[in-house]
């Protein structure tokens, strides 16, 4: 049998689509959560900054969705992915879907997520898939800024007042159960990494942990012990309680007017 590159490519593209969907959904769901801060931030500059972060992540998701729709053969566009998918079809980790907590909770989540994303996009700039490499190159600039922003606040809060130190440390404890999931390898990531398109999440762990550890040290905070329980299953569409309510809000208007353009 003659080698048919088109067939081989099609066989390759589905696992990569599944892998990229996890990345896109992480960005999309976290954009939704970050945008909730607008009008709720501790100062007006921070309303703007968190809005900016939300826009960056929304942009990352929007860059990936149509490409995923072409890879998986469905031809779905960004709004098909965002507005028309049920909870079981979302592939984001639990970290990003958790409800907005206090500002320390957000900075703990942002610190970890952006440390992870810096390592992720650094690795993905070397992807064999040019589209992925291109998205990663643009995203890398953004998420470096996100990490700087989170680091700045974590240091300020950790080394600020007694109250802010206590709150920041407590937030680090609360975010802890959601971290291992970021670095879990699954079938899709193994497949995408094997093809050189993606990267094994587990390979990003040490560098991300080191980034966070150095910020915590500067902030006079301590790295929490591993938690008694940990989240699982986001990449397989098994979500936590807040996800259904997040989707209800995200999708309600779009779902209420089937077929309408906006």
């Amino acid at each position: 049998m003659a080698h048919d590159p088109a067939v081989a490519e099609a066989a390759d593209s589905k696992p990569c689509a599944a892998y990229l969907l996890g990345l896109a959904d992480d960005a999309m769901v976290y954009a939704q959560r970050l945008a909730e801060w607008m009008t709720n931030a501790p100062q007006i500059e921070e309303d703007m900054a968190l809005g900016n972060l939300a826009l960056d992540l929304l942009g990352q998701a929007r860059a990936l969705y149509p490409y995923i729709g072409s890879l998986d053969g469905t031809g779905r566009g960004e709004d098909d992915f965002a507005m028309q998918r049920s909870e079981r079809d979302w592939r984001n980790v639990h970290l990003v879907e958790q409800e907005r907590g206090d500002f320390a909770d957000e900075m703990a989540r942002l610190l970890w997520f952006s440390a992870y994303q810096v390592e992720l996009h650094t690795a993905l700039t070397g992807s064999t898939d040019e589209v992925v490499a291109g998205v990663a190159g643009k995203a890398l600039k953004e998420v470096r800024y996100h990490l700087d922003h989170a680091s700045l606040w974590v240091v300020r809060l950790g080394d600020g007042t007694e109250e802010s130190h206590r709150r920041m440390q407590a937030a680090l404890e609360r975010v802890q159960p959601y971290l291992p999931e970021l670095f879990d390898d699954d079938e899709a990531s193994v497949g995408a990494a094997g093809r050189g398109v993606g990267v094994l999440p587990s390979s990003l762990r040490d560098a991300a942990v080191n980034r966070v550890a150095s910020v915590l040290e500067q902030a006079t905070l301590s790295m929490p012990e591993p938690s008694k329980w940990r989240s699982r299953g986001g990449r397989a569409g098994i979500h936590s309680k807040p996800m259904g309510y997040l989707l209800a809000e995200l999708q309600h208007i779009a779902r209420s007017y089937p077929g309408a353009a906006w």
């Binding site: 501790p42 007006i44 309303d47 939300a54 826009l55 709004d79 007042t161 208007i253 906006w262």
Partner: protein, 318 residues
């Protein structure tokens, strides 16, 4: 006095007053009140549209909306900075907003009930804001005038986006068209009220218009701006296919302007006094956010103080 003299010369020559220039206390107070109210309006004005960020019907619209609300925060910051050049700081101004000593535009006490309201706010409310603000780019007080130049540029972008939301709805399903018309029905009159109560003819004597004009803060009367706004919006409504909710609205060839009906000023005063749909909610939201964030701002100050003293120690050790 000499203060008055220099100031009057600059005003008469249509020159800018700058922060270091001497100025009458009343001029300073009027500007602080007006700039602060303007800044507060930007900040409170984030809420009605902010209400739709999580529910925007498409990702493209969500991104545009986030960017717009962000711009409003930015405008608030420019304007607080302009006010600060007059010797009052932002924290103090926010306190005055939170405890009701200073106001924000009453338009933001109306609720945003449907997605189309994001369009109507952009088209009508930002449209009216621009009409008010363009002359302020030539305001006699330099920092305010310069802030307004930046603000106006972005506002006209927002106005086009609002128009485009409605344009898309009016070319959509019957439900979408009804949604757009309904939004215009609800926002038209409050938008006209944004120019303030009548201040020409009989009504010219009561308000601040005359003094503000003399000082070069205000360039047109409320009534003139309202007329310009109506004249601008009617053709735009026609293009959209939206019927403006005013049976008296018609072209007057003799005047070269559109005639239009009377704003319900009783409602205007009622809402201004606090009995609007959202007055309580808007301020409560702002206060809660501010109070929730108090520990964060304290921490930032404490950290900055620590850093400063560390720097000092380093220097004295060196």
């Amino acid at each position: 006095d000499t203060v008055g003299d220099d100031f009057d010369v600059l005003i008469a020559a249509d020159q800018r007053i700058e922060p270091r220039d001497a100025m009458p206390e009343k001029y300073r107070e009027t500007l602080i009140r007006q700039i602060a109210q303007h800044a507060h309006s930007e900040i409170i004005g984030m809420q009605p549209e902010g209400n739709w960020i999580t529910r925007a019907p498409s990702l493209r619209r969500k991104a545009i909306l986030i960017a717009k609300v962000q711009d409003e925060a930015g405008h608030g910051l420019y304007l607080y900075s302009a006010a600060e050049t007059l010797g009052v700081d932002r924290a103090e101004l926010l306190d005055r907003l939170h405890d009701g000593r200073q106001k924000y535009s009453s338009i933001f006490n109306y609720p945003t009930l449907t997605w189309a309201d994001c369009g109507a706010i952009g088209w009508l409310v930002d449209g009216a804001a621009i009409m008010n603000q363009v002359p302020l780019c030539r305001c006699s007080y330099g920092p305010y005038a310069r802030a307004m130049i930046r603000v106006c540029k972005e506002e006209s972008f927002h106005q086009r986006q609002g128009f485009e939301i409605l344009w898309t709805l009016m070319r959509g399903t019957p439900e979408q068209q009804a949604m757009a018309q309904d939004a215009a029905d609800r926002w038209w009159w409050p938008a006209l009220a944004m120019f303030g109560p009548p201040d020409t003819g009989e009504a010219a004597k009561g308000g601040h218009t005359e003094q503000s004009m003399a000082w070069g803060i205000k360039r047109f009367s409320n009534d003139d701006l309202r007329q310009k706004f109506v004249d601008m919006m009617v053709p735009q409504a026609d293009r959209l296919g939206i019927v403006l909710p005013d049976p008296e609205l018609r072209w007057n060839d003799a005047r070269g302007h559109y005639d239009f009906g009377e704003v319900d000023w009783d409602e205007f005063w009622r809402v201004l006094r606090g009995d609007g749909a959202c007055n309580a909610e808007r301020i409560a939201h702002r206060r809660r956010a501010h109070e929730d964030g108090a520990w964060v701002r304290e921490a930032a100050n404490a950290y900055a103080a620590k850093q400063a003293s560390r720097e000092q120690q380093k220097e004295s050790a060196a």
